[in-house]
């Protein structure tokens, strides 16, 4: 079994297509939607975790590509700007997945993008504009 956290961007023409449904039914993939924003006649973006055999996952991603869905790894979606961050640690208390933690000795912020589920709680908690979402 392979697990991947991805950001899917849909062009307007695909909004009406049940792409997620196809991933489940045709490719036997486990889909966990973490975030979604779909605007009719504009575009759609979904953050999802896909789980399945490596063969099925590969086939599913090829299908998405054929359909014209842009697939990006999620790491680029949330950014921690070290220069703006003052290491106050306010973000760590509201982060539900420990993507933002404090290094116990240096007391500095450690951002682990692979744990981030894009809930954006940290954005409001940060008074210094150090967390930015590209979503």
């Amino acid at each position: 079994m392979v697990k991947k956290k991805l950001v899917l961007s849909f062009p307007p023409r695909l909004i009406q297509q049940p792409v997620t449904n196809d991933l489940i039914r045709k490719f036997d993939l486990e889909v966990n939607i973490l975030r979604a924003r779909v605007v009719p006649r504009e575009s759609g973006r979904i953050v999802m975790e896909l789980k399945g055999s490596s063969k099925n996952l590969k086939a599913g991603l090829e299908y998405l590509d054929e359909q014209g869905v842009q697939v990006d790894p999620m790491v680029q979606e949330m950014r921690h700007y070290g220069e703006k961050c003052v290491q106050c640690t306010a973000c760590t208390a509201v982060c539900p997945t420990d993507a933002l933690t404090v290094e116990p000795v240096t007391r500095e912020i450690v951002f682990e993008p692979s744990h981030c589920i894009m809930c954006e709680s940290c954005i409001a908690a940060c008074s210094y504009g150090a967390m930015e979402s590209q979503f």
């Binding site: 290491q87 106050c88 640690t89 306010a90 208390a93 509201v94 908690a125 008074s127």
Partner: protein, 391 residues
Amino acid sequence: MRSLEEINDKIKSGKVVVVTAEEVVDMVKEQGVKKTARMVDVVTTGTFGPMCSSGIYFNIKQSTPKIKCGGGRVTVDGVAAYAGWAAADILLGCSAMTDEDPRNAVYPGLFKFGGAHVIQKLAAGEKVRIQVRTYGTDCYPRKEYDAELGLSDMNNAVLFNPRNAYQLYNVAVNLGERTIYTYMGVLKPRLGNANFATCGALSPLLNDPRLRTLGIGTRIFLGGGEGYVVWPGTQHVPNPERDEKGLPLTPSATLAVIGDLNGMNDHYIRAASIAGYGTSLAVGLGIPLPVVDEEVIAYAAVTDEDITFPVVDYSEAYPLGRPGALGRVSMAQLMSGAIEVDGKKVPTGGMASRARGREVALELKQRIAQGSFLLTRPSAALPGAELAQGL
């Protein structure tokens, strides 16, 4: 043990021994108070956190014809400033905003730009736009003025905190049913998180809890430059309840501090946009403690385990002014990442930065060791305090 003059002589000759308030903890654990006091001349402290009681006043150079800002209206980068003084003196508070800012009309407000951001820009060496509309007089005929000015274009620019360096502060939680937006940050409902605003064992006034070595006239590290303690801070409480180590248990000391904005920088002067609350200014502040007797070291050896803070509900108790806390927690517990309140594990987050407070203490240590920062004797003790005999 040693006088302030002797310490300053050691600083000038490069023989001074300086340690930070964090470093002194381990020294005392290993070697005891007496030996450490014999070895160490100065202990440096540091803190860095948002303090809304921050502002600057500045004086602009007159152009021809002259203008009288006093009694007129002044904005800086669109932010309302106060000009109820002489012709060219202007005061700008960090919480001031532009007229166009929606505040909390769109809740929670973002407060992207306010007085704090103007102050940060100036500290960073950038220019700001000053606009004046006023009435004319025979000696000051000009009625309008509009210019981009930086610190070097001004006669003076001074940072002033009517209140800073809180000795003790609340740990904020939310017992309510909805997320609240406070000056203690975003507080999630039903004890979702607990926020604290202190540098603990590194914090200036927790290392000299009875204010024995500092007072009015003490030279300090301020915003990356130098400043002075000029008065007790507003809301200063002279005689708080204390524990057996002398640490305050109830609201206690604060300081009023001042310093030349020239020489400060945007690493230690940082604007904060606190969601749903407003703009504030994070200021790096450090105080050197002269080791004039063993007691100085005994107090400075305070640990994060020793210091406790009251846990206060900000959904009801704080806004409605109801007394009483939900208990006390130590700084060590707060720094562990979670505390326990009402039997529930609550994740903790900071408002003050221990990491940057540490930078303050280390930079102050370095300046003293290099001979570029001399210590001063306070002219007067703060209310409720008695200065050390040897000072």
